[in-house]
């Protein structure tokens, strides 16, 4: 049970950090990093819930976790590409500039 507790507390902490990062930063790169931290927190919860005291490994959650990591990488890539384009256009990384895109 210790593993579960530790991993759940850890994942909660990671998600809280990610949310704090999203709520306080205006820099878009920092926001992407915040999203990534939250993602890692949720993957940690997944792995922790899959762990069993006897030490037997269930391959399904493991493979899901690996896939989630890969997807997280691509999310970051897409986000960074968009940020690059925004930077070229507005010459700033401030997220408030994007308000102009709103109708």
């Amino acid at each position: 049970m210790m593993t579960l507790d530790v991993s759940l507390i850890g994942s909660f902490a990671l998600i809280a950090v990610g949310l704090f990062c999203l709520a306080t930063n205006r820099n878009m790169i920092m926001m992407v990093i915040g999203v990534e931290i939250m993602m890692n927190g949720s993957i940690l919860a997944l792995v922790g819930l899959a762990a069993s005291p006897t030490g037997l490994l269930d391959p399904l959650p493991q493979s899901l976790a690996i896939m989630a990591i890969a997807i997280g990488g691509s999310v970051a890539a897409v986000g960074l590409v968009m940020i690059t384009q925004v930077y070229r256009h507005y010459k700033t990384l401030d997220v408030r500039e994007l308000k102009k895109l709103r109708l």
Binding site: L19, L22, A23, N25, R26, M31, V95, L98, K99
Partner: protein, 593 residues
């Protein structure tokens, strides 16, 4: 009947519609193929009539369409009873003639593949709507008809008015459709089946109706009001005149607006054993008020197609009124007989007007006039159509109107015949006003410079429909036998006298206003008469009010709601955190964990 007619009659146009892109590979095939399909489907429809007359019920193979054991089971099939066979015959025969006419009307248009695709889809889904045997597929075809009307009204999408009219038709009928869907869901929840026969048999078991099942016909009535353009929801039909004229003819004569009347007739047959009085009264008053008010709107319209559109709404109102006069298949017969007459003469009138609009390039009657010499065949056909519309013997409109009038006199409710006589008088006035303004009198300056031509493919349907206008009036007894109703009709002197009075009232006032010009045209431009004229020309300001409430009002409300979305990401994230913590606290307090 030809084998599998009840299925093929609607499946063939639908399949042919999806084959249109293939047929479009060859220019010649593209224009001939849909017309051939239309006529073939009409042959299948007509072939069902002898079987129904013989009374042999069509053994319809039901297909289990959706089945999740214990949750839902939907069986679909075709139903060939007198009502559905009659409707499918009207739809496919008039549809085929309109397709033939389109060959001439649309000869030089762009996007013909799209046009033929939607026309075939329209005819196919309307045939399916009337011949299916359950509410579920009826609803699906109902929506398909709505989609086709949207696409065809907005056919000339580069014109903003056409786009707006298509959108309006789609949205306004959607209001009715929501109520129809609610009614169908109530039926399914209470009866456990969608099919008409199951509803009918379960209703006869449940003699004291559960309240929720008694409201179903009213919900279906609102659906029919939307589709058939009755009074609160009629605003889409006059605007639908932005589409090509054959499309208007199809919407008004064969498809779309008749769907509502068909649904009411079908519900009538199901509920006739129970005859909830509220529902019948609602039908009568929706019909009567619509018939009179929209007929007066037609009096002041200068757009030639809008006059006919208002007249359609008014005539559909008469059909609704006929259904509401009493319970039983006799009243269904009366209403359907008028539907047949109306389908024929209204198709004829629209196709006549189409000839003029096609060559003049305008729909404004003030720019026409004196066209009887340049378009003689159209003139004669139009006069025949107008004789039928205003109900002059021996044309079919006279017979069907007398049937309704006779039934109305027998109910003992004296308000209904008064509305009827007034409608007759106004109908007389607006229909001959159209003829006087377009065909008689002097040519306007605009009309002098336009060459009116009558291509052969456009004239042939006119001649066929004119012949039908003469013939079908005398089919009353046969048609009653076909619907399985004993017909005891003889012309009552009182009804005949009252309709003569109505004709005279309409005709004499028309003569003074438009021929003698004795209250001068200026008289209608000022004072009390001027304000009445303005009121009618604006259609009693229905459009204005709806626009203020539903278009401008809603837009303003949405603008206010948008203010709560500032678009600052940090702010949004804070709200998300707040929501999450509220959820956590709720779980901790309630003890969900």
């Amino acid at each position: 009947m030809l084998p599998y007619s009840p299925i093929i009659v609607w499946l063939m146009p639908l399949v042919a519609a999806f084959l249109m892109p293939l047929a479009a590979l060859n220019r010649k095939v593209r224009d001939v193929f849909p017309v051939v399909v239309g006529f073939a489907s009409a042959v299948f429809a007509v072939s069902m009539i002898p079987d129904v007359l013989r009374g042999a019920p069509y053994a319809h193979p039901e297909i289990s369409w959706i089945r999740i054991p214990g949750i839902i089971e939907a069986r679909v099939g075709a139903l060939a009873d007198p009502l559905s066979v009659f409707m499918v015959t009207v739809v496919s025969c008039i549809g085929a003639l309109i397709l033939l006419y389109s060959m001439g009307y649309m000869a030089n248009e762009k996007g013909k593949t799209r046009y033929w695709f939607f026309m075939l889809l329209f005819i196919g889904s309307m045939s399916g709507l009337v011949i299916t045997d359950n509410f579920l597929t009826l609803y699906i075809f109902w929506e398909m008809v709505g989609l086709c009307s949207y696409a065809l009204i907005g056919f000339w999408y580069d014109r903003p008015e056409a786009r707006k009219a298509g959108m309006k038709a789609f949205l306004v009928t959607r209001v009715g459709d929501v109520f129809l869907l609610a009614g169908i869901i109530f039926i399914y929840l209470n009866v456990g089946s969608f099919s008409y026969s199951a509803v009918e048999s379960s209703l006869s078991i449940l003699k004291p109706l559960p309240a929720i099942l008694a409201t179903v016909p009213l919900l279906l009535l609102i659906g029919a009001i939307g589709k058939s353009a009755q009074l609160p929801l009629h605003v889409w039909l006059p605007d639908a005149m932005e589409g090509p004229t054959p499309v208007s003819a199809l919407i008004h004569a064969a498809t779309m607006v008749n769907a509502g009347v068909y649904l009411m007739a079908r519900t009538h047959l199901i509920y006739s054993a129970l005859s909830p009085g509220v529902w019948l009264n609602a039908l009568i008053w929706v019909g009567a008020i619509t018939a009179l008010l929209t007929a007066t709107m037609a009096l002041a319209s200068v757009d030639i197609k809008r006059v006919l559109a208002y007249s359609t709404i008014s005539q559909i109102g008469l059909m609704m009124l006929a259904l509401g006069l009493g319970a039983g298949s006799g009243f269904v017969f009366v209403s359907q007989f008028h539907l047949m007459s109306h389908a024929i003469f209204k198709a004829l009138l629209f196709l006549c007007v189409g000839v003029l609009v096609h060559s003049m390039g305008t729909r404004d009657m003030r720019q026409m006039g004196g066209l009887r010499k340049v378009a003689p065949i159209t003139f004669i056909a139009c006069v025949i159509g107008m004789l039928a519309l205003s109900g002059i013997p021996p044309l079919n409109g006279f017979w069907s109107k007398e049937f309704i009038f006779d039934a109305a006199m027998k109910t003992g409710n004296y308000l209904v015949p008064i509305f009827f006589v007034l409608t007759l008088a106004v109908t007389m006035a607006y229909s001959w006003r159209l003829v006087i303004l377009t065909f008689l009198g002097e040519k306007s300056d605009y009309a002098k410079n336009v060459h009116v031509h009558e291509p052969k493919v456009m004239i042939i349907p006119l001649i066929i429909l004119s012949a039908f206008t003469f013939v079908t009036g005398f089919w009353g007894p046969n048609f009653a036998k076909f619907m399985g109703v004993p017909l005891e009709f003889h012309v009552e002197p009182l009804t005949l006298m009252l309709s003569t009075v109505a004709f005279l009232a309409g005709g004499v006032s028309l003569y003074f206003v438009y021929v003698r010009r004795s209250p001068s045209p200026e008289y209608f431009g000022r004072g009390f008469a001027g304000s009445v004229q303005k009121l009618l020309a604006n259609g009693y300001y229905f459009d204005r009010v709806y626009n203020a409430i539903f278009v401008n009002g809603l837009t303003a409300g949405i603008q206010k709601f948008r203010k709560t979305h500032p678009g600052i990401l940090n702010y949004n994230i804070l709200l998300i955190i707040g929501g999450l913590s509220a959820l956590v606290i709720m779980f901790l307090l309630v003890g969900g964990l």
